[in-house]
Structure formats: structure tokens, C-alpha cells
């Protein structure tokens, strides 16, 4: 008779095998090849030549002058890095400013209608990101609804250029990722005991003090989770900056795409991808640390 422990282990391995095989083949495995590619030399027509080189990694932040061989900062890349990080932080902040009151509003509705409000938040989230970005684009382009209305009202004679600016990226990303802020804040607020707030008022706290001293500390894990959930996809955003930035306002995702398209520098593209991955991982580790510590603190 087979040993029962090893037989359950074998069954488990067999059941897991298909999922693991697909994930290793089309998700985890290819990542390792990206690491390899980042240490190779670019081929003339895309692809790589199998010569070891660390140029790609230098190229992430530095560039070598073609004639004098002098190293200097790669200003174009730094601009893109800075724009990506700045816009991602601002998007998280804007999403919080809109998302927190919204989550609060939903959490204070009668229990039965809360689900319907949450469904209203979920529907845009599960609809196509490209379509939502298109919707914003149609709204803010020069011939778009907002400009048509502004000109018809006589406020402007010329359309206001909103598309292809950093503003359009910020607006678009906030619009697209806002539900990711509302969901976790709502989740942490849903079971909030409003008797605590009552106790605060009994102790002569003002509304602001109650918000800051009673509500915020308790929903903090939700806020941290929401900020990370918004920050991370913004940092790697590709579709939104492509549609709303129109090649003028590149973000990291677009810079990476350029290396595989027009610029034909696959190793640099690989190194940039891994840089993005590292920043994302740092953000996720930060999240696990803060929320984990928070939970242990409360436990």
C-alpha cells in the first residue's frame, strides 16, 4: 500500500501541474530570458547578438557621447522616469482625494444599498481600459465635448489644448484607476463601528478631529493598499499614456515599447523593463511591511 502522505503530495503535484506549466511557460519563465537579454548586445534589425555586454544597464541612466566617448546622464530617460513617478504619485493622491469620501459615502449607506453602490464602482473597473481611455480622449480633445461646450458658451475662441499634456495623463489615469482606491478603503471601512465616532463626539471632538483621530487610523491599511494598487499600474501604464500622451508625454511603458519598436535596442528595453519591475517590487514590499506591521500592531 502506498504511503498516504507521499500519495497526497503526488496528487497535489499532478493537480497543480497544468496551471504551473502554463504560468512557467508564459509568465515566469520568459522573465528569466529578459534578464539574459539585458546583458546582450543589440542586433542591427532588432533582436540581439549573443555577445555579453553591460551597456544596456549603463544605458538606463547614462549615455555615451558618440564621438568623445564621454559618459553623461541620459536626460531623456531621466525625464521619463521622473514623469512616471511624479504622475503615479499624483494619481494616487488625486484618487485618494476623490476615492476616500466616496468610499466613506458608500460605507455609511444603509446595508442593503451598499452592494449596489459598489456595483456602480465595479462596472467601470471591469470594463475595457482602452474604451475608458478613449472616452476621456473624446471628452478632452480639441474638437471634443468640453472644448465644444466652452467655445459655444463663448468662454474661449480657441480650443484649450488638454490632450497630449501631462494634465491629460493625470486625468486619464485617475479616471481609469480610481476604483482601485475605492475598493480597499471601502473594504476596511465596511465593518467600521460608528459607535467609536459617537464616543468621539461625546468627548467633545469636532468632526475634523473625529475624522483624523478616529476614522483615519482605523482605515489606514485600506488607504495604503489603495495607494499601492493605484501607484503600481500607473507606473507601468502603457495604453493610457499612449492614447492621451500621443507620443509627446512618454511614460516608462512607452519608453520600453520604443526600444522594441523604432529604436531596435532590445537589451536596453529588457534592462528598462527590469528596472520598472524592481521599482514595483520595492513598492509591494513596502506595502507588505507597512500593512503587515499595522496588523500585528492591532492584533
Amino acid at each position: 500500500m502506498p504511503d498516504p502522505i507521499s500519495s497526497t503530495a503526488r496528487t497535489r503535484a499532478a493537480l497543480l501541474a497544468p496551471a504551473m506549466a502554463i504560468l512557467i511557460f508564459a509568465a515566469a519563465g520568459p522573465l528569466i530570458i529578459v534578464v539574459l537579454y539585458s546583458f546582450l548586445t543589440p542586433g542591427d534589425y532588432g533582436g540581439v547578438v549573443w555577445d555579453f555586454s553591460t551597456d544596456a544597464w549603463f544605458g538606463v541612466l547614462a549615455e555615451r557621447d558618440f564621438f568623445t566617448e564621454q559618459l553623461s546622464w541620459a536626460d531623456a530617460h531621466l525625464t521619463v522616469f521622473w514623469r512616471s513617478i511624479k504622475l503615479s504619485l499624483l494619481t494616487a493622491l488625486l484618487s485618494f482625494i476623490f476615492g476616500f469620501p466616496t468610499a466613506y459615502f458608500i460605507a455609511t449607506r444603509p446595508r442593503r444599498s451598499r452592494d449596489i453602490w459598489m456595483l456602480l464602482v465595479m462596472i467601470p473597473f471591469w470594463t475595457n481600459l482602452l474604451i475608458r481611455t478613449f472616452a476621456i480622449m473624446e471628452l478632452i480633445r480639441n474638437e471634443g465635448t468640453i472644448n465644444t461646450v466652452l467655445i459655444a458658451m463663448g468662454l474661449f475662441t480657441q480650443p484649450v489644448q488638454m490632450l497630449y499634456t501631462e494634465f491629460s495623463l493625470l486625468l486619464g489615469m485617475t479616471y481609469v484607476y480610481l476604483p482601485l482606491m475605492i475598493l480597499p478603503i471601502y473594504a476596511s471601512m465596511e465593518r467600521f463601528d460608528f459607535r467609536l465616532v459617537e464616543a468621539g463626539y461625546d468627548l467633545y471632538a469636532t468632526r475634523w478631529q473625529v475624522l483624523r483621530r478616529v476614522i483615519l487610523p482605523i482605515v489606514k491599511p485600506g488607504i495604503v493598499a489603495g495607494s499601492i494598487l493605484v501607484f503600481v499600474p500607473c507606473l507601468g501604464a502603457y495604453v493610457t499614456p499612449r492614447v492621451l500622451g500621443g507620443g509627446k508625454q512618454l511614460m516608462l511603458g512607452n519608453l520600453i515599447e520604443l526600444q522594441f519598436g523604432q529604436l531596435r535596442n532590445w537589451p536596453l528595453g529588457a534592462a528598462l523593463s527590469l528596472t520598472l519591475l524592481v521599482i514595483v517590487m520595492v513598492a509591494l514590499i513596502f506595502y507588505v511591511r507597512t500593512v503587515g506591521a499595522e496588523e500585528r500592531g492591532h492584533g
Partner: protein
């Protein structure tokens, strides 16, 4: 006091929340409205018409892209859901086991790694395979989609399994049911809503994907979203709005169905 003191009230919050909902829906509503525009414009109303739906329907490129999208989404969600059911059976209702950290990391990887990074890695890996084998068909897209659909299919199935009673299955086994029979007659009927929910999520996620498809597809393999992205450089007509509206309708239907299915469970 004339008005009772509402402890839950915070000044301005309701206003911001209402503004938030209006802002969330206004762009989508306008997009849908202009898909019915009789004129060429996507911002000037010239009367109601279905002409853009007709023109989208008659457009061969759109027909091809639609069929391709559906084939990929069906294939990927079927593969992902089957794999996710087996994985969920293996990882739920058990004691901790060796290698579980690795398994969970793999399952969650598509959610953590930025899509553009996965897209780039698949571009590199699949172009190697394309050179070796010469095969350039749809399977690359189906497998790539299946991989990132797995976590979405896995989550509802796992949640459903966790709420299920192991005793029933043990009773089945005590009555000399073979593992296959126990699974078919006891586990599967209870698990079915979770599987359906997972499959629907996977289908929507695959149908909506842009980034990974854009990088993995070979020439002439546009799906609806990548076709739409490609149209950006041209003059945009309400035809794009018409396609968007159709896609929106599918997503909204499936998400709402998913919502009510997971609600009746409680």
C-alpha cells in the same frame, strides 16, 4: 434640537462622492451616446442613427478582429479555468505543504508584474520560438492570455471551495465512491457557481487585453482592442464608439451577472 445629529456625516463628503459617480459615468455615457450619432463627429450631435453600427458590422477587418477576439477569449478562459479548478482543488482545504509559497507566487505573478514587462518578456520568448518552429498561429495569444487569466479564474473558485463542507466528500468516499465519482457527483455540483464566475472573469479579462496582445500578435492578428488602438492615428469616427459600446455591453452584462451570482451565495 430640530435636526438630529448624524454621527456619520462629514461635510462635503456626499458632494464629492456624487461628483465622483458622475465623473465615472459621464465619459462612458457620452461615448455610448455618440455611437448613435448620424454625423461624422464624436462631439457634435446630428441626430439619431444606427449607421455606425451597420458600418462596423460590414467592416471586414472588424469582423475578423471580433472573431479572433472571441476565439482567443474562449480558448484562454477554458484553459485557464480548467487549470484553475485543478489548482484550487490542490491548494484549498489542506494543511501547509512544501512549495506552497512558490505555487502561490506563480499564481499571483500576473497580478504583480506590470503588464508591459510580461508583454516584453513574451515578445522575446515567443519570437525565439517562432524562429525555431516557424509556427506563427493563434496559439501564442491563447497561451499568453490563459496565463494571465489563471489568477482571475482561480480566486472565485478558491473562495467557493473554502466555503464548502469537506464532510460530504468524505461521506462519499466512505460509501466507496471513487475519487473521480466523488468529484463528479459531490464536489463539482457544489463548485459549479465558482467555476462559472471564474470562467466569466477570465473571459472578460482576455477580451479586454491590449498590452500583451499588442506585443505577442503576429502581423494580421489584430483583436478588437488592438484594432481600435491601431485606428488612433486615423480620423476617428463614431464607428469606434459603436465597437466600444458593443464591448462595453458584454463586459457590463458579465460583470453584473457575476455580481448577482456571488451575492446569492451568501
Amino acid at each position: 434640537m430640530a435636526r438630529s445629529f448624524d454621527v456619520t456625516r462629514q461635510p462635503g463628503f456626499t458632494m464629492i462622492a456624487i461628483a465622483c459617480f458622475v465623473l465615472l459615468y459621464l465619459p462612458i455615457i457620452l461615448l455610448v451616446a455618440y455611437s448613435f450619432n448620424a454625423g461624422q463627429s464624436i462631439s457634435q450631435w446630428e441626430g439619431f442613427s444606427l449607421r455606425w453600427y451597420v458600418s462596423a458590422w460590414d467592416n471586414e477587418q472588424i469582423q475578423d478582429a471580433t472573431i479572433r477576439s472571441v476565439i482567443i477569449a474562449l480558448g484562454a478562459s477554458l484553459i485557464a479555468t480548467s487549470a484553475a479548478v485543478l489548482a484550487a482543488l490542490a491548494t484549498t482545504r489542506t494543511t501547509p505543504w512544501r512549495g506552497q509559497t512558490v505555487a502561490f507566487a506563480l499564481i499571483n505573478q500576473p497580478l504583480m508584474v506590470p503588464e508591459i514587462v510580461t508583454a516584453v518578456s513574451l515578445l522575446i520568448f515567443f519570437s525565439m520560438i517562432k524562429v525555431w518552429t516557424g509556427y506563427t498561429g493563434l496559439w501564442y495569444l491563447v497561451i499568453a492570455h490563459a496565463a494571465f487569466c489563471i489568477p482571475f479564474a482561480y480566486m472565485p473558485i478558491r473562495a467557493r471551495l473554502q466555503g464548502m463542507d469537506l464532510n460530504l466528500e468524505q461521506a462519499g468516499a466512505d460509501l466507496y465512491g471513487t475519487p473521480i465519482k466523488v468529484f463528479r457527483h459531490i464536489t463539482l455540483p457544489q463548485l459549479w457557481p465558482g467555476i462559472l464566475a471564474g470562467g466569466m472573469l477570465a473571459f472578460v479579462i482576455s477580451l479586454d487585453d491590449v498590452v500583451i496582445t499588442e506585443f505577442v500578435k503576429s502581423a494580421g492578428q489584430d483583436t478588437l482592442p488592438t484594432y481600435m488602438l491601431g485606428q488612433l492615428r486615423r480620423n476617428i469616427t463614431p464607428e469606434i464608439n459603436a465597437i466600444s459600446t458593443a464591448l462595453l455591453a458584454i463586459s457590463v452584462l458579465l460583470v453584473t451577472a457575476f455580481f448577482f451570482m456571488s451575492r446569492t451565495r451568501k
